[in-house]
C-alpha cells in the first residue's frame, strides 16, 4: 500500500505554513525515493495544531502530527512517521485529540477528514444520503422534515429554516432561486470558509435539497472576495458535481433540475445582509431593501428566493439523512441541533468547536479555549461578530443559546467568540464598533450613516476626558437613536458592542487625566 499523507490546504493552515510543509515533505519523499500520495484535506479546525499532518497507516488508522514546521520534516521521516512512528510532534489518532474528541460533529463530520474534491471520499463518508432521500420525497415533506428538525438560520438572525422554505414552496412563480450567503464578514468567524474549503459537496448537497424542496432550479453562492481559496474550491466542486449528475437537468437521475453558480463579492460588509446581497447579485449597489416584500416572496430579480447561510444549508444533508428527530435531539430550549462555535482572538486553543447548544460561555472560553494566549486574565469576550455584545466574566454562566444570549442583551450571531485579555481598552473597542459602522454603512439611513460618525467623535472626546458625563449621555442617546431608527442590523445592532462595553466596563469610560501627567 502506498502511504497516504494528509496536508491541509485550508487557508488557516496555509497561513501557518502548510504549503512550505507540503513542499518539504515532497522534497523529502523525492530525496529518499519513497512513493506516497499527498492529499490536501481541509482543516479539522484545531488551529493551535496547524499545520497538522496526518498519515493513513495500515495498522493504526490515521496518525496526526502537529504543529509541523518545515524544519521538522526530516526528523519526521527519520522517526518513521509514515507508519505512525513517535516524534515530538506526534499527536496520535486525530479523533482522540481532546479538542476534537469532545465535539459533536454533524455538519463538520467530514471537514478535515476527506479530500474536499473527491466525490468518492464524500460518499464513503456518508455524503449524498440526504439528497438521495430527498429526491424520493414530496417537496412539502422535505420542508416538514427541515422544520421539525428545529434548524434555525446560522447566519445570525436565527430564523427557522423550514418556515422560510415553506413560504418559497407556497409562492408560485416561473422561476425561484436558492441563494447561499457566504459573505461571512463577522470578525471571529470562519466556519463558512472552513466548510467551503474542506467539504464543499455538503453545501452543494444542501442547496440541491433546498432547490428540490421549494421548486427552485437555480442557486447562487455569494462568497466574499476575501476568501479566494474558498472561491477556487467551490468553483471546482460545482464543476465536479455537475459532471457527476448531482447538478443539472436531472439531479441524481430524478426529474428535478437544479444548477448553481459561484459569485464573488466586492468587499462590502453590508452585502452579508440578505437584501443587500440580493441587490449586489443583481449588479446594483449593495443597499439594504425595506421589508416587506420578503425575499421569500420577491427576492432575486423579483422572484421567490430562499436565502440561507452556508452552515444552515450545510446542516440540511445530515437532517435529511438521519431524520429530524436525530438532529433535534441535540441542543436546548428552542436552539436545536449543533452549532460550530468559532473560538478566536487572544485564546490559547483557537479553533472551530462543533457542539450541541447549551454549553456555557465560561466552559467555551476557559475549558475549551484554555484562557488567553498571552496567559493574562480574560477581560472580555465579544460574541457574534462586530455587532455582538462584549461579555464580562460575570456573565460567563450564560448558556450558548439564542434566547439566553438575547436575555443578556447579546446575540449569538454566526457563533464567533473573540477573546480579549486584561490589556484591552473597552473604550477603544466601543470606538471601533462605531468606526466600523461608519465605514461599512450602506448609507440609506441617517442614524447609521451619520450617527456612527458622531459616535466616533463623541468617544474620542471621552478618551480625552472632555466633559465625560456629557459624552456618556450623548453616546447613550445616539445608541438609542441608532437602535430604533435603522433599517438593518448594521446600524441597529452597533449599539450592542458599544453599550455592553460601557455598561460592563464603566471604569474604561472614565479615563483619569492622571495618565497625561505621568507622560
Amino acid at each position: 500500500m502506498i502511504p497516504r499523507i494528509y496536508i491541509p490546504g485550508d487557508s488557516g493552515a496555509l497561513a501557518l505554513g502548510a504549503e512550505k510543509v507540503a513542499k518539504a515533505i515532497e522534497k523529502e519523499l523525492a530525496d529518499r525515493g519513497i512513493e506516497a500520495k499527498i492529499v490536501r484535506n481541509g482543516s479539522r479546525g484545531a488551529y493551535f495544531l496547524e499545520p497538522m499532518v496526518e498519515v493513513a497507516t495500515a495498522d493504526k488508522g490515521r496518525v496526526a502530527y502537529g504543529p509541523v514546521k518545515p524544519s521538522d520534516v526530516k526528523s519526521l521521516f527519520d522517526c518513521g512517521f509514515l507508519t505512525g512512528g513517535y516524534h515530538k510532534r506526534w499527536l496520535g489518532a486525530p479523533d482522540k485529540i481532546p479538542f476534537l474528541a469532545k465535539q459533536t460533529r454533524l455538519t463538520f463530520a467530514r471537514c478535515g477528514v476527506i479530500n474536499p474534491l473527491s466525490l468518492d471520499h464524500y460518499k464513503a463518508h456518508g455524503g449524498l444520503k440526504g439528497l438521495q432521500n430527498a429526491v424520493a420525497m414530496a417537496p412539502a415533506d422535505i420542508v416538514k422534515q427541515v422544520t421539525e428538525s428545529g434548524l434555525r438560520g446560522r447566519g445570525g438572525a436565527g430564523f427557522p429554516t423550514g418556515i422560510k422554505w415553506k413560504t418559497v414552496l407556497e409562492t408560485t412563480a416561473d422561476r425561484k432561486y436558492i441563494v447561499c450567503n457566504a459573505d461571512e464578514g463577522d470578525s471571529g468567524t470562519f466556519a463558512d470558509r472552513m466548510i467551503m474549503e474542506g467539504d464543499p459537496f455538503v453545501l452543494i448537497e444542501g442547496m440541491a435539497i433546498a432547490g428540490i424542496a421549494t421548486g427552485a432550479t437555480k442557486g447562487f453562492i455569494y462568497i466574499r472576495s476575501e476568501y479566494p481559496h474558498a472561491v477556487a474550491v467551490m468553483r471546482k466542486a460545482v464543476e465536479i458535481a455537475r459532471g457527476a449528475g448531482l447538478l443539472g437537468l436531472n439531479v441524481l437521475g430524478s426529474p428535478n433540475a437544479f444548477d448553481m453558480e459561484v459569485r464573488v463579492g466586492a468587499g462590502a460588509y453590508v452585502c452579508g445582509e440578505e437584501t443587500s446581497l440580493l441587490d449586489s447579485l443583481e449588479g446594483k449597489r449593495g443597499q439594504v431593501r425595506a421589508k416587506p416584500p420578503l425575499p421569500a416572496h420577491k427576492g432575486l430579480f423579483g422572484k421567490p428566493t430562499v436565502i440561507n447561510n452556508v452552515i444552515s444549508l450545510a446542516s440540511v444533508p445530515i437532517i435529511m439523512d438521519k431524520g429530524a428527530a436525530f438532529y433535534k435531539d441535540f441542543g436546548m430550549g428552542r436552539s436545536r441541533g449543533t452549532i460550530p462555535i468559532q473560538i478566536a482572538g487572544n485564546v490559547k486553543y483557537p479553533g472551530l468547536y462543533e457542539a450541541a447548544f447549551g454549553m456555557t460561555l465560561g466552559e467555551i472560553v476557559d475549558d475549551i479555549g484554555g484562557g488567553t494566549a498571552t496567559g493574562r486574565p480574560v477581560k472580555a469576550v465579544q460574541v457574534g461578530g462586530p455587532l455582538g455584545a462584549y461579555f464580562p466574566r460575570a456573565l460567563f454562566d450564560t448558556p450558548f443559546d439564542y434566547e439566553a444570549f438575547a436575555a443578556k442583551d447579546g446575540l449569538i450571531g454566526h457563533a464567533g467568540i473573540v477573546v480579549f485579555d486584561d490589556t484591552a481598552d473597552m473604550l477603544k473597542q466601543a470606538r471601533f464598533a462605531m468606526e466600523f459602522c461608519s465605514i461599512e454603512s450602506c448609507g440609506k439611513c441617517t442614524p447609521c450613516r451619520i450617527g456612527s460618525t458622531r459616535g466616533v467623535e463623541v468617544l474620542d472626546r471621552l478618551a480625552q476626558s472632555i466633559e465625560p458625563e456629557k459624552q456618556i449621555a450623548l453616546v447613550t442617546d445616539l445608541c438609542n437613536t441608532m437602535k430604533f431608527g435603522s433599517l438593518c442590523a448594521l446600524g441597529g445592532f452597533t449599539p450592542y458592542p458599544v453599550m455592553s462595553a460601557l455598561n460592563h466596563f464603566p471604569e474604561d469610560f472614565r479615563p483619569t487625566p492622571v495618565a497625561e501627567a505621568a507622560e
Binding site: 488557516g12 463577522d186 470578525s187 470562519f190 470558509r193 459569485r263 463579492g265 468587499g267 483557537p350 466600523f436
Partner: protein, 159 residues
C-alpha cells in the same frame, strides 16, 4: 449625449470581457471583477462601454463601482498587502503590527509606496481569526504575524 471618448485600447479589452460575461444573470459585478483583473483597476474609460453594453446609465455604473471597497480607480502597487484590523486581530495586537508596518514601509493605509512596490490596505477579517493577527499579500494568507514575519513581508515586497 456626449461621452468622453474611451481610449480604444481600454474599450476593446473591456468589450471582450463584457462579451464573455454578458450572458450571466446580473453580470455587472463579474464584469467589474474581470476588468479589475485585466487592468489592475477599473479605468474611467471602461465605464461608458459597460453602460452601453448593459443598457444602463453611466451614473449607475459609476455608483456601483464606487460603492464597493474592492474596486480601485487607480492602479495599485506591484504588491497589495491587506492587513486585518478587525476585532480578533485587535485582540492579538494588530494595532501595533499596523503601526510597525506603516513605519517600515513609510506609507499609511490606502497608500502606495513611492517606488510603486506596494499598496497597503486595511481589511476587516480574513477568516483567519484563529491565527491572528493576519494579513494577505497578493492573495497569499499569512497568520500569527510577528516582527520576524513583518521583516519577511517587507523584504518580499521590496525585492
Amino acid at each position: 449625449m456626449t461621452m468622453q471618448p474611451a481610449s480604444t485600447e481600454i474599450a476593446s479589452r473591456t468589450a471582450a470581457i463584457i462579451q464573455e460575461l454578458k450572458g450571466l444573470e446580473g453580470p455587472l459585478l463579474p464584469i467589474l471583477h474581470g476588468i479589475q483583473e485585466e487592468f489592475g483597476h477599473v479605468p474611467q474609460d471602461a465605464l461608458p462601454v459597460i453602460a452601453e453594453a448593459l443598457n444602463i446609465s453611466r451614473a449607475e455604473v459609476h455608483g456601483v463601482v464606487t460603492f464597493y471597497h474592492d474596486y480601485r480607480s487607480h492602479p495599485a502597487g506591484r504588491h497589495v498587502l491587506k492587513l486585518c484590523q478587525a476585532e480578533a486581530c485587535q485582540s492579538m495586537g494588530s494595532d501595533a503590527i499596523a503601526a510597525k508596518l506603516k513605519q517600515l514601509l513609510g506609507i499609511g493605509f490606502h497608500e502606495t509606496a513611492r517606488d510603486g512596490s506596494v499598496t497597503l490596505e486595511p481589511v476587516y477579517c480574513l477568516g483567519l481569526c484563529a491565527c491572528a493577527p493576519s494579513a494577505m499579500l497578493d492573495g497569499e494568507v499569512i497568520g500569527r504575524l510577528n516582527d520576524e514575519k513583518l521583516d519577511e513581508i517587507v523584504a518580499e515586497v521590496r525585492s
